[in-house]
């Protein structure tokens, strides 16, 4: 096992621990965790046997496993960006409602 493999695998495992420790109460997040577990297993496997990704790539009509990983990364990045954007919008809306409630409580009426 080369050093880069040790680094990559420990990074992935650290992420797994982080994910499992946070947000433990939300039932809806369970599927995200299952998906993440699959991702971790795949990632460890791909690190240990990098040539196997090329085999999968060839099934899909892609030349190299590294290219396949790049494509997957781009898709994942776009997905993450969009979901972050929507999440921010939602937070902004909650924030606006909070500020509105404060504003309405402190409304001032003119004297005349």
């Amino acid at each position: 096992m080369s050093w880069i493999q040790v680094l990559l695998i420990s990074a992935v495992l650290a992420l797994l621990v982080y994910l499992l420790r946070s947000r433990t109460n939300a039932k809806a997040k369970a599927w995200v965790k299952v998906g993440y577990l699959l991702f971790v297993i795949t990632a460890v496997y791909a690190v240990l046997r990098p040539d196997d990704t090329t085999v999968v790539a060839n099934w899909l009509g892609v030349d190299r496993g590294a290219d396949l990983l790049t494509y997957a990364l781009v898709i994942a990045f776009v997905f993450t960006t969009l979901s972050t954007y929507l999440r921010f919008k939602e937070l902004e809306l909650r924030y606006a409602r909070l500020a509105r409630a404060v504003a309405l409580r402190n409304a001032r009426t003119p004297e005349h």
Binding site: E92, A99, V102, R108, P110
Partner: protein, 266 residues
């Protein structure tokens, strides 16, 4: 979030037309019922304002010469807009932080609809670009009873020639890009002047805080099946309102937010 510290609540502004006949300030001498008149007692004028200290006094006093109930939503201004509006006779609701014009309108509607006797609601930009006489005419139109909301348009056939060609094309294209706007036959959905009844006020839920609320307003009209009509109004292009005009590029933000709107949980 669309920052609009440099931009006012109005989009878009055009360069001053060559015949500046819209510039003359409306005076209260023109067919003004006294405040408290039965025709205006149930009317609430909603004025969202952000850093409008220079003009808010004039705008509120002009409105108050006709309408007894004016609420100014100070959207986190740092220039004393709130105090000036209060002194001029407006109710004042102050956002603790700057949220955007859409949020300010929503706050104003929620405040106004909670007041006893409120029946007619109007949004009115704080920079002095609208004429009070247009609001009076739009309220008369609403009281006809066959519509729920009246929106001002600067693109009536009588005034169409006064908008520069390029901007007219772009704005009409923007209107055409919005399916709701097209279905309803609206020509100027970004006009800040709107008059509506209790049905609309009670069910209004604007979620777009920034400048994209105008498109959202149209989408809500479409989704809720409110009966809508347009009424020709005149926009006063003063140097002040011109200097606060938004760049047309902001239209990109508005169109983009409009597309994403359907994908958000409400």
């Amino acid at each position: 979030m669309v920052r609009w510290s440099e931009s006012p609540y109005t989009w878009p502004h055009w360069p001053a037309p060559s015949n500046r006949r819209g510039v003359v300030l409306w005076t209260s001498k023109q067919r003004t019922p006294p405040p408290g008149n039965a025709r205006t007692a149930d009317v609430w004028i909603i004025v969202p304002a952000f850093n409008e200290a220079q003009v808010i006094n004039t705008v509120v006093r002009e409105l108050r010469s006709t309408f007894p109930h004016v609420v100014c939503i100070d959207d986190g201004s740092g220039d004393g807009t709130a105090d000036i509006a209060l002194a001029a006779g407006a109710h004042v609701v102050t956002h603790p932080v700057n949220l955007g014009q859409g949020a300010a309108i929503q706050t104003g509607v929620e405040y106004a609809r909670s007041r006893p006797g409120a029946g007619v609601f109007a949004t009115f930009d704080a920079d002095g670009q609208h004429r009070v006489s247009d609001v009076v005419a739009m309220i008369e139109r609403l009281r006809g009873g066959d519509v729920d909301i009246v929106i001002g348009t600067r693109f009536a056939p009588s005034s169409a020639g006064r908008t520069p060609l390029l901007k007219r094309v772009i704005l009409r294209a923007a209107a055409w890009l919005s399916p709701a706007s097209r279905r309803l036959g609206l020509t100027d959905s970004h006009n800040g002047l709107r008059v509506f009844n209790r049905t609309v006020a009670d069910n209004l839920t604007l979620t777009m805080s920034g400048m994209s609320h105008a498109g959202e307003f149209v989408a809500l009209i479409d989704e809720n099946g409110w009966r809508v009509t347009e009424q020709p109004v005149e926009i006063r292009y003063t140097d002040y309102s011109m200097s606060k005009g938004q760049p047309l590029l902001n239209g990109v933000n508005i169109v983009f937010d409009g597309f994403l709107r359907g994908r958000m949980r409400r």
